[in-house]
């Protein structure tokens, strides 16, 4: 299959530049992954992730999108291929990447502030300083007042905000989000998506986002990478041109939004039995 970059007419590009001309901060080259010699999760994946963009990996379940994200994060080694961060080959996790986990991965014995500051704690930053930074991000994700609570005292959506604040606190260039909203209910999920769009305006970061929701991908993304069914390959790259200056309701009723959702569904339905 051939990777195709689709161009749409662009009424208003919030980032002021063509995504394809942006410098890529992360590249993957010829990534293949085989689980226990049998399950072929990924095959020959070549991708570039432009700096400052939100790129979504979208595909049917079992297409290897989470596997690809974990390989980019350095949490999993590919069988072949390289991951390049700012042009340099990496083999493990690094300070320029921060991960947001599907199951939140919060320490149940630690308060919200300690959880958020954990990345900084591991780097040996003094407690007063790292807690000050953590409090700032806790406030930014809307959890002010919950600093001394424990994870089991929070709702699922609030727990994922803690996970997001922890990833923001280490000030990485790239945030890797593995189906971050899949474990929360639909209302919380929508609110979270709206907050993420607003967050992007404050924090100039690169996001790589894994989801199985077409609507979520189109709503949030600058670029959507469609992966084929196992073994996962890049089947298509779509750059939806949606004007995100309006209210969430306006975006969800936007012609370009609805057309892109429909187009992706038409591409993906071939992979669904």
């Amino acid at each position: 299959m051939v990777a195709v970059t689709r161009k749409f007419p662009r009424p208003a590009d919030p980032h002021g530049a063509d995504m394809t001309s942006l410098e890529s901060i992360i590249s993957v080259r010829g990534i293949s992954k085989v689980y226990s010699g049998q399950v072929h999760a990924l095959q020959d994946v070549d991708l570039d992730f432009p700096a400052g963009a939100l790129t979504t990996l979208l595909g049917p379940s079992g297409c290897g999108k989470t596997t690809l994200l974990k390989i980019i994060a350095g949490l999993m080694a590919p069988n072949t291929g390289d991951v390049l961060v700012k042009g340099r080959k990496v083999t493990g996790p690094g300070p320029e990447r921060a991960f947001v986990f599907q199951d939140f991965a919060l320490m149940p014995w630690a308060t919200v502030v300690r959880n958020v500051a954990f990345g900084l704690e591991l780097r040996g930053m003094a407690e007063a300083k790292r807690h000050e930074i953590a409090r700032r991000y806790i406030e930014q994700v809307g959890l002010a007042g919950f600093e001394e609570k424990y994870p089991h005292e929070l709702s699922g959506g609030m727990r994922q905000r803690v996970g997001l604040a922890r990833a923001l606190a280490v000030d990485a260039d790239v945030l890797l989000l593995d189906e971050p909203f899949s474990a929360v209910d639909e209302q919380t999920r929508r609110k979270f998506q709206e907050d993420l769009l607003r967050l992007r305006e404050i924090e100039r970061k690169t996001f790589i986002f894994v989801t199985h929701s077409i609507e979520e991908a189109v709503y949030l993304s600058d670029r959507i990478v469609l992966l084929s069914r196992r073994p996962g390959r890049v089947s298509q790259i779509i750059a939806p041109q949606i004007d995100r200056s309006g209210s969430p309701d306006e975006i969800r009723r936007d012609r370009a939004y609805l057309d892109t959702v429909e187009e992706i569904w038409q591409s993906l339905r071939q992979f669904v039995d």
Partner: protein, 272 residues
């Protein structure tokens, strides 16, 4: 984000302190009622009487007071506690270290697992006479009896606790650049601690069994001596007082351990 959360949970958490205190008070009352009910049933059963050798609760309490007053109880406890505490400290330190090492390294797991699984399955009461045969009737034999009973359960629980640590938390620690040492100290041990402490609780109660078995089977000293002596002279109230005291003592030791866990290691448990 100006996401001011209007979450029902937020309101619930705000209302919680008063609610919690009330339910805690209620819990204390029900527990006291449970103890009172037990004592009452004992008193009635003793008065019926179900058996001549079964004293009433009040007679047992009186016998207990008498044994405290004449110093025999204190003397017995000093004798019993020495091998018990040495044995439990050795079992806790060795048991947790070996168990954690087994959970962290496959080679240690393969060496250790068969030994401790067999030891846990063994009817240790049958082994204790053999311990006496080798180590005599002194302190060493009693410490070994305590360890024989306490060690396997502590080792196996610690091992299982470490082997079943949430892999997602380990990935989290790796992705935020934690070293292997940080991973062990900051993630694996705290995450494993509830199961490790469950093993310690089982180990302590097994240690109490070990010391009483040793005192009954090896040489009658301490509490074991009190039980044997008062049985022999048909002072049943005194015998029951000695037995009840060691049960209460063991329960108190377990509560203390739970308090230590909640206070220092898993503070969130107090709030659940």
């Amino acid at each position: 984000m100006d996401a001011r959360l209007e979450d029902p949970i937020a309101a619930q958490i705000a209302a919680e302190p008063g609610e919690q205190a009330r339910s805690r008070r209620q819990m204390v009352w029900w527990r006291l009622a449970s103890i009172a009910l037990f004592c009452l049933a004992w008193e009635i059963a003793g008065r019926v009487p179900i058996n001549l050798a079964f004293p009433t609760f009040s007679a047992t309490v009186a016998a207990f007071a008498e044994m405290i007053a004449d110093g025999s109880m204190l003397k017995a406890y000093l004798l019993t506690l020495q091998p018990l505490i040495i044995g439990l400290i050795v079992s806790a330190l060795v048991g947790v270290s070996v168990g954690v090492a087994m959970g962290l390294r496959k080679s240690v797991e393969w060496i250790g697992a068969p030994i401790f699984i067999v030891l846990q399955a063994a009817p240790v009461a049958a082994v204790i006479p053999m311990v006496t045969f080798v180590y005599g009737i002194g302190l060493t034999a009693k410490v070994i009896s305590v360890c024989l009973l306490a060690l396997p359960v502590i080792v196996l629980n610690s091992y299982k606790a470490v082997a079943n640590v949430n892999p997602s938390l380990i990935n989290m620690c790796r992705s935020f650049l934690g070293s292997r040492l940080q991973q062990i100290v900051k993630i694996i041990l705290p995450d494993a601690s509830p199961v490790i402490f469950a093993g310690l609780r089982l180990g302590i109660s097994a240690g109490f069994i070990g010391i009483i078995l040793a005192e009954l089977l090896i040489t009658p000293t301490g509490i074991g001596d009190l039980i044997t002596y008062h049985r022999a002279v048909a002072n049943y109230a005194h015998m029951y007082a000695a037995i009840a005291s060691i049960i209460v003592f063991s329960a108190a030791a377990l509560s203390l351990l739970q308090w230590v866990e909640e206070k220092w290691i898993r503070p969130e448990k107090k709030r659940s």
